[in-house]
């Protein structure tokens, strides 16, 4: 049971890495409008380091939790910037949350989304409305919790989570940045989608595709 789940989790990271890689230039363009244009490059480096690390994982002896821990270290050691610590903390929190879980049922998927969101919030000390990746992760986590509470099936669960993520990213266009390098732009950041929010949508999209 656990081995199949571990393989799916590794596939999830492969899918994230390939989606981020394909959208690398668009993410950098978004970042160029309000930051320093390196977000696509940084994220691509990070997830490619994660997939190389996970390629060495023996799925028969690994656990979901240890996969997330390995992903956290690989990401942290490969990526500086703000995204390194943010996603590394997110994956560490996910590793703690998934301790003892051996199946990727919907409850575990919800836990995964929620723990990533709370890890990012804890490290970045941000909140909704700051025009960051949290404007995607926090609504996605809420949507996951609500879908579980409503007893929705997998398709509806992921449809809700991805819709909340996309809406959150779209909403960043009408926000003024208060965190990170974009904060120095003040009102000039209006009208631009936050690049960290855009990459978060890609990550959640890849999660939905592989974990559904």
């Amino acid at each position: 049971m656990s081995e199949i789940a571990v393989r799916r989790l590794i596939e999830m990271f492969d899918a994230i890495s390939s989606d981020i890689g394909a959208e690398r230039d668009r993410l950098s363009e978004l970042d160029g409008a309000i930051g320093d244009a390196d977000h696509g490059i940084t994220m691509a480096i990070g997830f490619s380091a994660v997939t190389s690390e996970l390629a060495r994982t023996d799925a028969s002896s690994a656990e979901l939790s240890s996969v997330m821990t390995a992903a956290a270290s690989a990401f942290l050691n490969a990526v500086g910037a703000s995204t390194g610590p943010l996603y590394a903390t997110a994956f560490r929190r996910a590793a703690q949350a998934l301790e003892g879980c051996d199946a990727l049922d919907l409850g575990t998927c919800a836990l995964l989304v929620q723990s990533i969101a709370s890890g990012i919030r804890e490290r970045g000390k941000g909140q909704r409305g700051d025009k960051t990746m949290l404007d995607v992760w926090l609504p996605a986590a809420d949507a996951a919790a609500q879908a579980i509470a409503a007893g929705k099936p997998a398709d509806a669960f992921w449809a809700d989570v991805t819709a909340a993520a996309q809406n959150g990213a779209n909403a960043t266009r009408s926000m003024v940045a208060t965190k990170g390098r974009a904060a120095r732009l003040g009102e000039r950041s209006l009208g631009h989608m936050d690049p960290g929010a855009a990459s978060a949508v890609l990550i959640i999209g890849a999660m939905a595709r592989t974990l559904r």
Partner: protein
């Protein structure tokens, strides 16, 4: 884009390799290839002094590695904070048993990576103190000084912190003195032309011909205002006014002045600016103890210049006078 690069994604690796080959008498590559270490580090019984930051600002940060200055420097991607691991490895390389002070600039990424590195070092029993530079006047109003970015004033912070550590001061004193140095610094940048990350291939901000960005940041962060390009004399007066109004120094204060190019401005233009800067500072009743003009802290091929003014007391003057052996002439 006409640049001397190989693979745009390997610009930092190639830079570091060439740097270490050129300066093997002063620095060595750390065990982590994203850490540059002073050849004499770690010095047993001395507080280690480290920094780190994104690449593309050469000679900062790596060029200030050396005796009596920085013991180790963490190297990030272009314009991007080093990893927590690189900061941590720099701390380890600098550790001579008396603790390590990490003197870095106020950017979201650096703050988070340093914080994680401090935790990792603490687990190994290395005591770390930190000072965050926030000398860039235009990046936030005076009442929110803690939000300001660190720019060329960081060089003074390294020089003072490095000299204090070299004199055998304990960790807390080194930290407090480096803090005093950066508290005494105010900086401003003026941009005339943008810069391009090689992996991106085009500038990520524009400065229209005939205009300048007053208060621009070290990565092209927008400044106070965009206005028509003026004569060097008028630009230098504006720079002095912004820096010195914010500083509010009493008459007779001695200062150190640092005029740095941002990468693509010829040295002669920096001297033209300094001619007026010197006059303006004296006209304010301040005394110039020492002036530095050159490419000390750049932003790839950005056209523009920065001015940093550090107020001095006897201690800071003495520490500023300590000779250093690093690749950036200082």
């Amino acid at each position: 884009m006409q640049r001397f690069i190989n693979n745009p994604d390997e610009v930092v690796e190639d830079t570091v390799k060439g740097f270490v080959k050129a300066h093997a008498d002063i620095v060595r590559l750390g065990e982590n290839p994203r850490v540059i270490v002073a050849k004499n580090a770690p010095v047993a019984g001395k507080v280690g002094v480290v920094t780190g930051g994104g690449s593309g600002h050469e000679p900062a940060f790596i060029g200030y590695t050396g005796r009596n200055m920085l013991d180790a420097v963490a190297v990030g991607e272009l314009f991007s904070s080093p990893t927590a691991k690189s900061f941590h490895d720099a701390m380890r390389e600098a550790n001579g048993g008396e603790g390590v002070v990490c003197l870095y600039g106020n950017y979201a990424g650096d703050n988070m990576n340093v914080k994680m590195a401090v935790k990792l070092a603490a687990k190994e029993g290395i005591e770390i103190a930190t000072v965050v530079a926030n000398d860039d006047v235009c990046s936030a109003p005076p009442e929110e000084r803690e939000k300001r970015r660190g720019v060329a004033g960081e060089i003074f912070m390294w020089k003072i912190g490095g000299a204090k550590a070299a004199a055998g001061a304990p960790l807390e004193e080194v930290r407090a003195t480096a803090q005093k140095a950066i508290d005494n610094c105010r900086s401003i940048g003026v941009g005339l032309g943008p810069c391009t990350l090689p992996a991106v291939g085009h500038p990520n901000f524009r400065i229209e011909p005939g205009t300048m960005e007053v208060g621009i940041g070290h990565h092209g962060e927008p400044g106070l205002r965009v206005e028509a390009l003026k004569t060097a004399d008028e630009v230098a007066k504006d720079m002095c006014k912004i820096v010195l109004d914010d500083h509010g120094l009493p008459d007779g204060t001695e200062v150190a002045v640092l005029v740095s190019g941002l990468g693509a401005t010829p040295l002669n233009e920096l001297y033209i600016l300094n001619d007026t800067i010197e006059r303006e500072i004296r006209a304010r009743g301040l005394k110039i103890y020492r002036t530095y003009v050159g490419n000390y802290f750049t932003s790839l091929e950005m056209v523009g210049a920065t001015l940093t003014v550090m107020a001095l007391d006897d201690e800071l003057k003495a520490l500023l006078d300590v000779e250093v052996r690093c690749t950036a002439v200082f």
